[in-house]
């Protein structure tokens, strides 16, 4: 009985890793599309978003089944409930990556325009997502903590981009559409960072049993 349960838990773990990997790829690809101005890449991002949504439903169903059939307690319950919460955040990361790609396909943003350090912000966000998934995979409390702290870096990037855009808009020949689109993209990156923090918090919860504020 228990061995069957262990098998199911291992499968859940594997599925979560796969979903995390899909999220990493989605955000990395949307950042790359943005960087290189490659429209076909954003199509691939939508593909990833679809896969991520499907995975979310699969994992949710799996968690529900485990909760009903195995009635887990203590650590198992924590692992499953945090998995349930984590997939929501992962799905949001996928969606936000898709949103970034979508804004990009509207064509107001070209690499020539893109002198602002949105690239650095994208890198910082990708690192956060990667580290949060890593923390989950390795059950690494320290790494999860680092992810939570690293959110400040992404926030600082966002503030900088905002300031630069304000300066940009105050010029007479300012391109308003570009500025607003870029602001949205920056905001999405910032949101993705927050979701990564959430994932890290759930990792900590599944390890320690308490969700730190």
């Amino acid at each position: 009985m228990r061995s069957k349960f262990d098998e199911q838990l291992a499968l859940l773990h594997k599925e979560l890793i796969t979903m995390g990997s899909l999220c990493e790829n989605a955000i990395a690809l949307s950042a790359k599309a943005l960087d290189e101005g490659n429209l076909t890449m954003s199509e691939e991002v939508f593909d990833f978003t679809g896969q991520i949504n499907q995975k979310e439903r699969d994992i949710e169903a799996m968690c529900m089944r485990l909760l009903l059939q195995q009635q887990p307690v203590a650590k198992d319950l924590r692992v499953i409930s945090s998995a349930l919460k984590m997939v929501t955040d992962m799905e949001r990361i996928g969606d936000n990556s898709g949103d970034i790609a979508e804004i990009f396909t509207m064509g107001h943003i070209t690499p020539a325009h893109n002198k602002l350090n949105i690239h650095d912000m994208a890198l910082a966000t990708i690192k956060m997502v990667k580290d949060s998934i890593d923390a989950f995979v390795k059950n690494d409390y320290k790494l999860a903590k680092e992810v939570i702290e690293y959110d400040d870096v992404v926030d600082r990037h966002f503030d900088q981009i905002k300031l630069q855009l304000i300066r940009c808009l105050s010029e007479p020949e300012a391109d308003g559409e570009f500025a607003l689109d870029l602001l949205m993209i920056a905001k999405y990156f910032e949101r993705i960072g927050d979701h990564a923090v959430n994932i890290a918090e759930w990792v900590i919860f599944s390890i320690t049993g308490s969700k730190e504020a």
Binding site: E7, H13, I17, T18, S21, L22, E24, I133, K138
Partner: protein
């Protein structure tokens, strides 16, 4: 063990006890019954005399409790009874002992009471007057006796049980203790029980067999490990659900993990989409491969599903380093592109000039410059093709070139003489230092190494500079150093100058007329001689290229 021994001891004790009880009871009861009967008949005789003499008065005067005396008339009516009222008693004529007494003068019988608890013994004697006097005494039956002895019997049985318990436990302990002390590691060294020796020798044989098989297995495993651990390729074994069963050292390093990951799912080590795809391919039972970037290099990963009789057991991942292959491929592509470009440029000049000449478009006074340009470009092409041929020759290992003993110093001297005119053009001073060093090498190749180095030293020098060539001995090596006082090579370019067609300053090199292959030839030539090249240079600080060649490289190459 204890239980069984206890049971047997207890059973034996009880059987012996009961048997002796039955024996004693039977024998003694018979004996005592006989004695009692004798007494009774004696008493009857005495009483009969008394009654015959004194009649009923004798009976009434008697005070006897141990016997019951009955006097029965000839018709069977009871005339006297010592324990009951005469009137209430039935006729006794039919009684067995009376009948006997009436017939023979003496009779006896015994009857059980209704409860079977007592037995009455009767003795009857016919008196001379025809009446019968009967004496009876009650006797305890065997059952009564047994019941009366029940308590002591029970106590004895209890004692027997307790004793047999104690004995059984002590005995079993005594039997088992040597068994527990048996040294099963060396079964043949035990001498406690002879009965066990077949078992022990069997155990010994089996132990030896197990040890032999274990050793064989261990040996096989060690062999396998030695092979896989020393492989440059990574090997990863997965079970059916994708968990890592084992991996070799190379795989550990490639994935940048430690052995604690064994037993975990492969996606915990690397969760890239490529690996997920490989896994799902393998799950469908097909072979797959992909190229993945791992720890800075490019790796080809092959996955092979392992199926036995249609059942999937897992899969094997083989990780090959293809970084060099991919890089070599890229270099070859670049080389081809460069060669065609380098060949096309002079051809264009030649074709253009020739066309102008053909159509008489060139004024008389410029004719000479056109001819010389065609000549110069053609020369350049010849040099280029020469260099390419030489390089491709070197690529193939220069197997047909002859190895001879050469004096490097003399060779350098010749080269300097050859390049003297070139050096004079920019007023350069050429120096040769050092001593004579003989080495075994390929003369043509060594010559072109020195030539190319000196040529570069002259080309990239400043006017009025110097080129110094030094030939020295250093242990088993010949050391050739070519130093100039020229423009130098910036550090970021130093690694790449040996690449084919690589130029530090592209515009400048063209006007100097180099082919871009010189240093490449030097590099290959030195490699063929098992030598080493060192570059020391600083921007605008001159360049010094040092070559170390083993004095007898032919031996190492097996020529």
């Amino acid at each position: 063990m204890t239980k069984r021994i206890f049971r047997s001891i207890c059973l034996v004790a009880l059987v012996v006890f009961l048997a002796s009880v039955v024996l004693f009871m039977g024998v003694l009861y018979d004996y005592f019954s006989g004695v009692q009967k004798g007494q009774l008949s004696t008493q009857t005789e005495l009483a009969a005399r008394g009654v015959a003499d004194e009649g009923i008065h004798y009976l009434e005067g008697l005070e006897i409790n141990a016997y019951r005396i009955t006097w029965i008339g000839t018709d069977g009516t009871v005339l006297f009874d010592s324990s009951s009222d005469v009137n209430e008693m039935e006729n006794h004529l039919e009684r067995e002992e009376i009948q006997q007494a009436l017939e023979t003068g003496y009779g006896e019988s015994s009857r059980y009471s209704i409860t079977l608890m007592e037995r009455a013994l009767y003795c009857a004697k016919r008196l001379p007057d025809g009446t019968v006097l009967r004496l009876s005494m009650s006797q305890n039956t065997l059952l009564t006796l047994t019941l009366g002895m029940m308590q002591p019997i029970c106590i004895i049985i209890l004692i027997a049980i307790v004793l047999s318990l104690v004995l059984a436990s002590r005995l079993s302990k005594r039997i088992v203790e040597p068994l527990n002390r048996l040294n099963l590691d060396e079964p043949l060294n035990n001498e406690e029980y002879d009965e066990l020796s077949p078992l022990l020798s069997r155990i010994d044989i089996q132990q030896k067999e197990i040890k032999r098989q274990h050793d064989a297995l261990l040996h096989k495993q060690k062999e396998f490990e030695a092979v896989t651990e020393n492989m440059a390729e990574g090997i990863l074994l997965l079970n059916a659900s994708g968990n890592v069963i084992g991996m070799n050292h190379a795989a550990l390093q490639l994935f940048g993990v430690d052995s604690s990951y064994i037993g975990q799912h492969i996606l915990s080590m690397n969760r890239s989409i490529e690996i997920s795809k490989l896994l799902s391919e393998a799950e469908h039972g097909s072979h797959a491969e992909t190229i993945l970037e791992l720890s800075g290099g490019k790796y080809q990963i092959n996955i092979n599903p392992v199926t036995v009789n249609g059942e999937r057991f897992g899969s094997v991942l083989l990780i090959l380093n293809v970084t060099e292959k991919e890089n070599a491929e890229q270099m070859r592509r670049e080389f081809t592109a460069n060669v065609s470009h380098e060949l096309k440029t002079p051809l264009h000049t030649i074709a253009g000039s020739a066309e102008l000449l053909e159509n008489d478009m060139v004024k008389e006074e410029y004719l000479k410059s056109f001819y010389s340009r065609i000549h110069k470009e053609a020369q350049r092409m010849i040099r280029l093709v020469d260099d390419i041929i030489r390089l491709s020759h070197l690529d193939e290992g220069a197997a047909d070139m002859k190895w001879e003993t050469v004096d490097l110093y003399e060779m350098a001297e010749e080269v300097i003489k050859e390049l003297d005119t070139e050096a004079r053009k920019t007023n350069l001073k050429m120096e040769l230092n050092g001593e004579h060093v003989s080495i075994v090498g390929i003369p043509r190749l060594l010559q072109s190494i020195i030539y190319n180095l000196c040529d570069n030293a002259i080309k990239y020098n400043r006017p009025d500079g110097t080129v110094t060539v030094t030939v020295d001995n250093w242990k088993e090596m010949a050391v050739l150093t070519v130093s100039d006082t020229g423009i130098g090579i910036p550090p970021e370019h130093q690694e790449r100058i040996f690449e084919r067609f690589y130029r530090v300053d592209k515009s400048r090199s063209k006007e100097l007329g180099g082919t871009g292959l010189g240093l490449s030839i030097v590099k290959h030539g030195v490699k063929l001689h098992n030598g080493e090249i060192q570059v020391r240079s600083a921007e605008n600080g001159g360049t010094s290229i040092q070559i170390m060649l083993p004095k007898d490289a032919s031996k190492m190459n097996g020529h």
